[in-house]
């Protein structure tokens, strides 16, 4: 790996020894993978807009060089959408937790999937609300044959991949932060995808999720087979469902099917672009 490049990603960031994740937190793997991917793609920090969710995961925005924004819980995708519409030259990466994205943020998730802005969403999925100390998130219960669903209080988990597929996402991938190289690969492909790219990264919470541990994942992850046709939405649904039936977790690109896009330009924002515009065409209609 290009260590000089990686160093770049540590400027304008919280110093390493002050990173406040629990030792062993899965988010460390995502941070490493991001640095690798951005270095590989030769992205410059000033071109980046990292939009953090609220959660342990969302803090990654400050652990990495690049412009960053952090607003409300569940809002990352919508801020990113607006920024990208305003300036298509920005590289917008939304970095959020499973709770942030799929609980309170599902209102944005479903719609931004289908809006398909050219940006990345990486969810650090740990099955819990880490930052609020371990309550069930919508992805809680992965692999646990419990009595979920028998009461309204404990619904079955959301499978983020199926939800993304139903919501017309054009790029749906899955990774595991214990496999940094593969996660980095997914990030590279997501950034390269011309449209909305969703990566569901399993990033274990070592403090509050003692069930879905690194070992637990290692026993279950399997790369998406080579013969899978990622451009086939139905095949993608089948693949996810088949893995689930076998108690396995697919890693890789599950679905990729870019849509033809109209080219967009940065919106006018400088004085010379804005001043003294001619309102006559509008006024004409009211005369």
């Amino acid at each position: 790996m290009n260590t000089k490049g990686i160093k770049l990603w540590e400027e304008n960031a919280v110093p390493k020894h002050r990173i406040q994740w629990c030792p062993g937190c899965g988010d460390f793997g995502v941070l490493a993978a991001l640095k690798q991917a951005l270095t590989e793609l030769e992205v410059m920090p000033h071109e980046l807009l990292l939009v953090g969710g609220i959660g342990c995961s969302g803090q990654i925005r400050n652990y990495l060089n690049g412009n960053a924004f952090h607003g409300t819980h569940g809002g990352a995708l919508a801020y990113g959408l607006g920024a990208k519409m305003a300036n298509p030259d920005l590289k917008v990466i939304c970095l959020a937790g499973d709770g942030d994205t799929l609980a309170i943020g599902v209102e944005n998730f479903v719609h931004v999937c289908r809006r398909d802005p050219d940006m990345v969403l990486l969810v650090m999925n740990n099955g819990v609300y880490g930052l609020t100390k371990g309550q069930d998130s919508p992805t809680a219960g992965l692999g646990q044959p419990d009595e979920r669903g028998s009461r309204e209080e404990h619904p079955p988990m959301v499978d983020a991949l199926l939800l993304a597929l139903a919501s017309e996402a054009t790029f749906v991938a899955q990774s595991f932060s214990g496999d940094v190289k593969h996660t980095a690969r997914m990030i590279v492909e997501a950034i390269q995808h011309p449209g909305f790219a969703f990566i569901n990264d399993f990033s274990p919470c070592v403090t509050y999720n003692r069930f879905n541990t690194y070992d637990w994942f290692r026993e279950r992850v399997e790369y998406v087979p080579d013969d899978h046709d990622p451009s086939d939405r139905d095949a993608a649904w089948r693949l996810v469902r088949e893995f689930a039936r076998r108690g396995k977790i697919p890693l890789g690109v599950v679905y990729r099917n870019p849509r033809p896009k109209r080219p967009q330009r940065r919106l006018p924002m400088w004085e010379d672009e804005l001043s003294g515009v001619d309102l006559d065409p509008v006024l004409a209609g009211y005369r």
Binding site: H46, A86, L90, E107, L267, P268
Partner: protein, 633 residues
């Protein structure tokens, strides 16, 4: 007054057009009228919209005042001419063949006025009206359209023709023909001719009645062409224009009455100026996307009404804390909750000054007129950019959707200034996005600027934007943000407009869209020998305590007139100035009228601490509920 002996009134007439919503095309008619009168050099004001939030079937009405010179306000509820487009019987009173519009608004017709109605399904007993000297014109417009012209749709053109005849206007069809040609020529000349034919039939029917009854028409409209350039336009359209002129290039909204038309305007026009308009999938997507666009450097705006503003509250804090500017239009309607979506109110002031947890800077502006929807919006654009905080822009249903004749000279094009944006790295010192400054304003930058990187967070942070709970940093950052309001008060706040002399006189106080009515109420009071002053606010929050204390120092009793229940602005005045306020409040969903305001003010002047409720009772009166007059939401 009957018409006898009275001179014909020229170029001053108040109309009311009513009918069944959607079916009868009430606004189609008034839109044509307003446009034509404007072209004729007259002033048309249609700001008292009466409609239901259900799409079809409720009663709808649209009053319009037409005058020679710009009127102070839309005047009182009394009308000279009542136009009833509905042709069938009132479903609540099937026993009588009367029409809804006549039933509801007949009482507003002045003695000696004119009633014209569609008599296609029979004539109405109008003896009581005629006894008041009212001239009644039954026109079988729908029957003519269906039977003679074979196109039901032209029934309103028949009525328009009739109305023009009654107003002794456009007898050579110049204005009507031009408008019809603009609209229908592409469909073929026959369509234009058919419509003109319809209008002529309306005229003929009026002639017939005139002759039969020997009526002499009491009003006349005379064109004054070429005096000025003017448009017939709504408040929402004006503020949309203002936003475009002021540099807004991103707008997001979620449909809601009465803000939807801003979204429509922006969807239509922003792309032409290089901008984009987004219909959010919910209220929060809208404002979040706007904040994202603002972060990226674009002037951004959202618009909604009460329910949507309530839903956005959390994001106002994000704007305040991350110092990402956004203009928030709140086109107020009557609340609480879904309330009365198509009725006006000024009930959101507390929401926009208090909504949000914790303290953060914000500015609230409220235009007083359709014209100010443009001019004040230019200011809003500059203020949001300069102070990097939410700027609220409060209109209400009637100001938003009501239309009037506006002189084009209002639409001056400003020089847009981007305030203190760092466009490249200054190598000597690291860039501090949230630098502690005496003004509270820190150097902004936009992502993508080479060599400059910043972190912005709704969590408390240091000058670089990194999260911190260090008590000293917190205190300094909180103070810095709030200091922006001091700077604003010093450099940009505008004092209220003062009409008359405050000294020793009773003072009427208002804010936002009530100004025209209050101005007129003041004139009425003066005419009655009450020397009342009017103090009217557009820069509603924060208030400049010192300057206002000076203003009110030698004032007589202060009467705050608001269209809400509790007197939200009066509360704010008390809180800031600690002056005693008397209050006149109206909250029944009906617009304010000058005469009732004048009456209420007189009542309020009678005793300290008075609260006068127009259209309301302070007693518990059971209301009659047997007849379900259902309206939608």
């Amino acid at each position: 007054m009957g018409p006898e002996g009275e001179a014909v009134r020229v170029n001053h007439v108040k109309l009311l057009v009513g009918g069944v919503q959607l079916r009868d095309g009430v606004t189609t008619v008034t839109d044509i009228l307003g446009k034509i009168f404007t072209r004729a050099g007259l002033f048309a004001v249609a700001m008292e919209k009466g409609y239901a939030s259900t799409i079809y079937g409720a009663h709808q009405f649209d009053p319009m005042l037409v005058t020679e010179e710009p009127p102070v306000s839309y005047g009182d509820a009394e009308v000279d001419v009542l136009v009833a487009l509905d042709y069938d019987s009132n479903p609540d009173a099937p026993e009588q063949p009367n029409r809804d519009t006549v039933l509801r608004h007949g009482g507003k017709l002045r003695d000696g006025g004119i009633l014209v109605y569609d008599s296609s399904t029979g004539e109405i007993p109008t003896g009581a009206l005629e006894a008041r000297g009212i001239q009644v014109f039954p026109i079988p417009a729908r029957r003519i359209a269906q039977a003679e012209l074979k196109r039901e749709i032209v029934k309103n053109v028949v009525m328009t023709g009739a109305l023009f005849r009654l107003l002794q206007f456009d007898s050579d069809e110049t204005y009507l023909r031009q408008l019809l040609e603009e609209r229908f020529l592409r469909k073929g000349r026959e369509v234009v001719e058919l419509n003109l034919q319809a209008a002529r039939r309306g005229r003929q029917e009026v002639e017939r009645v005139l002759e039969a009854n020997g009526y002499e028409l009491p009003v006349r409209l005379e064109p004054r062409p070429g005096r000025h350039r003017a448009v017939y336009i709504s408040g929402n359209e004006c503020l949309g224009l203002g936003a475009i002129a002021g540099g807004v290039r991103f707008y997001a909204g979620y449909p809601i009455t009465p803000a939807s038309s801003i979204l429509e305007f922006m969807e239509q026009w922003l792309p032409r100026y290089g901008g984009r308009a987004l219909q959010g999938q919910n209220e929060r997507e809208s404002i979040r996307a706007a904040l994202g666009a603002a972060l990226a450097g674009v002037r951004s705006m959202v618009g909604s009404s009460g329910p949507g503003i309530s839903l956005k509250v959390e994001e106002f804090g994000v704007s305040g804390a991350t110092e990402t500017p956004v203009i928030v239009v709140d086109a107020q309607r009557a609340g609480p909750s879904t309330g009365m979506p198509t009725r006006p109110e000024q009930g959101d002031l507390n929401l926009v000054i208090g909504g949000g947890h914790g303290d953060f800077p914000r500015i609230v502006l409220a235009p007083g007129t359709v014209e100010e929807c443009y001019t004040l919006m230019l200011e809003a654009c500059e203020l949001s950019d300069k102070y990097q905080c939410p700027v609220f822009f409060l209109t209400d249903l009637n100001l938003s959707e009501g239309k009037k004749t506006v002189l084009e000279e209002v639409f001056r094009r400003p020089q847009v200034v981007r305030h203190g944006i760092v466009r490249e790295e200054v190598r000597s010192k690291p860039y501090r996005r949230f630098e502690i400054t005496p003004s509270g304003i820190s150097p902004r930058s936009v992502p993508g600027t080479p060599g400059v990187v910043f972190k912005a967070s709704g969590a408390e942070h240091d000058e670089f934007g990194f999260v911190s709970i260090d008590p000293r940093k917190r205190a300094a950052m909180m103070e810095k943000r709030m200091r922006k309001l001091d700077t604003y008060l010093r450099e940009d706040w505008k004092p209220p407009q003062v009409f008359g002399s405050v000294r020793g006189n009773p003072v009427l106080v208002g804010w936002g869209n009530t100004r025209p009515v209050l101005e007129e109420a003041r004139l009425l009071l003066q005419r009655r020998g009450v020397p009342v002053a009017l103090v009217h606010f557009t820069h509603v929050f924060p208030l400049h305590r010192r300057k206002l204390e000076a203003l009110f120092a030698d004032a007589g009793p202060v009467v705050v007139v608001e269209q809400n229940f509790s007197g939200q602005f009066a509360d704010l005045l008390q809180r800031e100035l600690r002056i005693a306020t008397r209050r006149v409040n109206k909250y029944n969903g009906v617009p304010l009228y000058p005469t009732e305001v004048a009456e209420a003010v007189l009542q309020a002047l009678r005793r300290e601490g008075a609260v006068v409720r127009i259209g309301g009772d302070s007693q518990p009166v059971p209301v009659e509920v047997g007849r379900n007059e259902h309206e939608g939401d």
